[in-house]
Structure formats: C-alpha cells, structure tokens
C-alpha cells in the first residue's frame, strides 16, 4: 500500500535537468535533485528563487520546458495534475481547496473515494465502509476528528489548511507536496501543523516549500536551497545554516 509500491530502492522522486522558461525568463534552470523514500525535504530560497515554479512542475500544474521528473522511476514530466495524482503524488494548495458547504468528514471522504471507487456511481456512499474508515483515520492524523461533522466553512483558517492536508492525504499518496502550509497562520497554529506533518511523515515522503525558517529547520531532514532557479546548496539543516553562501543570498551581504 504505502511506501513500498514500485521500485523499493532508489529515490521516490528524482528530477533531471528540470527547466521552466516563460518567454525570456528562465524561472527554473536545469534543476536535478533526488529525494529518498521516507524523507522530509524542504525547498527554500529567497523571493523569486523559483520554488513555486519548481513545485508546480513537480505536481503537473506546469508543463516543464525541458528535463525529466522520475516518480518511482517513471517519467511524469508534463503529465496533468490528475494523472500525477494517480501515480502517487498529492499536493496541498496555498488557497484553500476545500468544499466549504460540506462537512469536514465529507471533504475527506470524497477525496478517499476518488482513490478507491471513483467510477461507481450507483451504490450508496454509505455502502463503502472502507472509505469511511479511511476518511476517519485521516481526520485522526490531522487532528480534526472531533470536528468531523462541522461545516468546513466554519473552521478557523489554520484548521482549514490542516483539512487541506487531510484531503491530500486521503488520496493515499506516497509523496505529499505541501505548498507553504503555514502561510497566514499564527504561531500556535503553526506549531500544530508542524506536529501534524511530523506525524504523517512517518508513513510517506514529504516535500515542503516554506518561508518560515523555524518550521523548515524543525521538520526537514534535508534542505534544498534554490536561488535564481538553480540549486545553490543541499544538506542537513545544520549544514545549510553553516553555509556562508546561503546566508549571503538571504541577507544580500
């Protein structure tokens, strides 16, 4: 089910010379990274470094100009988001993608059902107990089980972002991509989300784009630093913090 499908060895995600050009602007320039299975990888970089563009290429939102993206050994570069999702990659968005008129449980159930019984339109939704169990289990891991009957629109901003993560999780991904999951959150909401990510990362691989350095340093096993669309440095949090070129780029000294 999770983690073990496909090539058991080898990185779960590998990019080779990934490049994205918009007219005259090269936003991502020949980026090659490899993310081992089960890791939490953070992608950071100052404003304009190309993090979002890179992320959008990974998740199928953008079609890269050139280069390859190997997910479990299969080249998925250029595939649309729904196909990429079927290959085991799920993503959360910066603008919340929840269904505000549905309950918290419904939001997650729909996502879970899309993975397991997507084409079965005839049977009543309650006749898929495995989907309901799965949905509840996801709510447990994102800490929203108590609010399962609450209307998604009534949740606080932080809880909505966490529901987002739950929706992505419900599609049973092997690789979870989080796009600035703590943006707009207060300090306490941020801490909750960090704990949440730590919990769920035990069973899958997580790639996270973030600006909040505390979150990054606290969560990531390895950090990739992008600058002007290229990989500037890669290493453990301690190595990155000690890297003078990275400090230079952030502080422009």
């Amino acid at each position: 089910m999770e983690g073990g499908r496909g090539a058991a060895s080898g990185p779960i995600l590998r990019t080779e010379g990934l490049t994205m050009r918009f007219g005259g602007l090269t936003a991502v320039n020949k980026v090659s990274i490899a993310i081992p299975r089960g890791e939490i990888r953070a992608i950071i970089g100052p404003n304009g470094a190309g993090k979002s563009t890179f992320f959008n290429c990974l998740t199928g939102v953008l079609q890269p100009t050139s280069g390859r993206i190997f997910l479990n050994g299969e080249d998925v570069a250029g595939l649309p988001p729904n196909k990429v999702s079927h290959k085991g990659l799920a993503r959360s968005y910066q603008i919340t993608n929840i269904l505000p008129g549905a309950s918290v449980l419904e939001n997650v159930r729909i996502a879970a059902q899309s993975r397991r019984h997507a084409w079965n339109m005839v049977r009543n939704r309650f006749s898929f107990p495995d989907v309901m169990d799965r949905a509840r289990a996801v709510l447990d891991s994102v800490g929203l089980r108590e609010q399962e009957d609450e209307l998604a629109a009534n949740l606080s901003h932080g809880a909505q972002r966490n529901l987002e993560i739950g929706i992505a999780l419900a599609t049973e991904p092997q690789l979870l991509c989080l796009d600035e999951p703590t943006a707009g959150m207060s300090v306490s909401e941020t801490r909750t989300t960090v704990e949440l990510v730590r919990r769920i990362a035990k069973d899958l691989t997580v790639v996270i784009v973030e600006h909040d350095m505390e979150v990054v340093m606290g969560l990531a096993k390895t950090i990739t630093v992008l600058h002007y669309g290229e990989v500037l440095a890669e290493g453990t949090p301690a190595q990155i913090q000690a890297n003078p070129r990275v400090q230079e780029v952030y502080l422009k000294t």
């Binding site: 909505q160 707009g184 959150m185 350095m213 630093v225 502080l251």
Partner: protein, 235 residues
Amino acid sequence: MLTLDNIHTYYGKSHILHGVSIEVRAGEVVGLLGRNGVGKSTTLKTVMGLVRPSDGSITFEGREIGGMAAHHVAHLGIAWVPEDRRIFRLLSVMENLRTGLDRPGVTEARRTELLDKVYASFPVLAERRNQAGGTLSGGEQQMLAIARAMMLEPKIILLDEPTEGLMPRMVSQIREIIDLLHRDGVAILLVEQNVPLTLEASDRVYIMEKGVVRHHAPAADLRANHAVIHQFLGV
C-alpha cells in the same frame, strides 16, 4: 507623525497581521525587514487604505485613518510605491506623472517646478517623457514609480521593496534617491529584503515575523550587532 497601534488585518480568513505596532516620525527613514510572507507589504497596504484593518488604529498627524479610502489617504500626504511598481503601462511617462500632479491646489508654477525637479533627479525619465510606461526597463519603471509618488508632494512615502530585481548599479541609485527624499524632509517607511541597504539608509528598523513586530532598534545598533539580523532574516 504616523502611528500604527495593534493593527490586525485579514485577507478573507487568513490572519496576516496579528497586532502590528509601528511609528514613523516626521522626516525619519524607518526600515521594515522580514522574510517573505511575514506581512510587510500588507502593513503598507493597510496604511494606504487598500486593505481595511479589522482591529487596531492608524493615526496620521493626529487623525485616525484606519479604513479610510485610498484616495483620501493620498490627499492627506501619504504616497505608495508598490512592490511591482504598477506603472500605468499604456500611459506615457508624462501622463503617469500627471496622475499625481493633476490635483486641486497645485498652481501652474508649482507644476513646472515639480516636473523640473523630477526630471533633474531622473534624467532618464525626461528623455522618455512621451514614451509609454510599459516600454521602460525595470529600473526605469522603478524610477517612474518613485517620481510619480513624489508628484503628490507627500509627507511620507511607503516604499515596498524598491530594489527587488534591480542590478547593483540601480540599487545604489535607489539609495541616492532615498537620501534625496530624506534631505527634502520626506519620511520614508521602507520595506526591504536587502539588509545592508536598509541598515545604511534607515534611522530605525523594525523586524517582523509571522505578522508581528519581533524586534525594534536604531539602525546603528543592528549594524553593530548582526546576531539579531541572522536570527530573523537568515537561515
């Protein structure tokens, strides 16, 4: 002159400013530093009246301006130079300047004076005065955005990341312009990610993180002590 007191701002449900308090005195250059996404631009937009604060107060020269419409805020003497410049691309350089110049109470003589002054400080704009704004280079557009704000004869300019995306040569030109404005007695609230420039140009500096002000010191102190900068802005 300008005081923000415990300002809270939301974008929809997203709570961006969690109680920001900042002060800018007449003629001061105040720097506002912080990583991406901490709410620096939102702070400027809230002052300008482009976003309504949900709590807290903003006073300018003793008058409450929180929630006031942007064009009234501009008339009070606050000018905004946004992060993406927002030049009126289809208007000529001259017409861009006129959007600030064509106000009630400006005599013909004063108009000429202001234009001459701006063309002297920005000769490249004089050269291109009839060219469409959209044809200018990035650096020239930044000059135009600042010149356009100066046409309002403001008491304070809200400068949002003026050096972003500019070459080093242009960065030092921006530095000169900030000094020029400072000499003229115009206060500046300078949002920047370029730390050295900000520390050099500012009198005092606020550092924001996650929607609040985390540190506040005279620029001189921060120039001498880098640890704080590294803590909030570094990696």
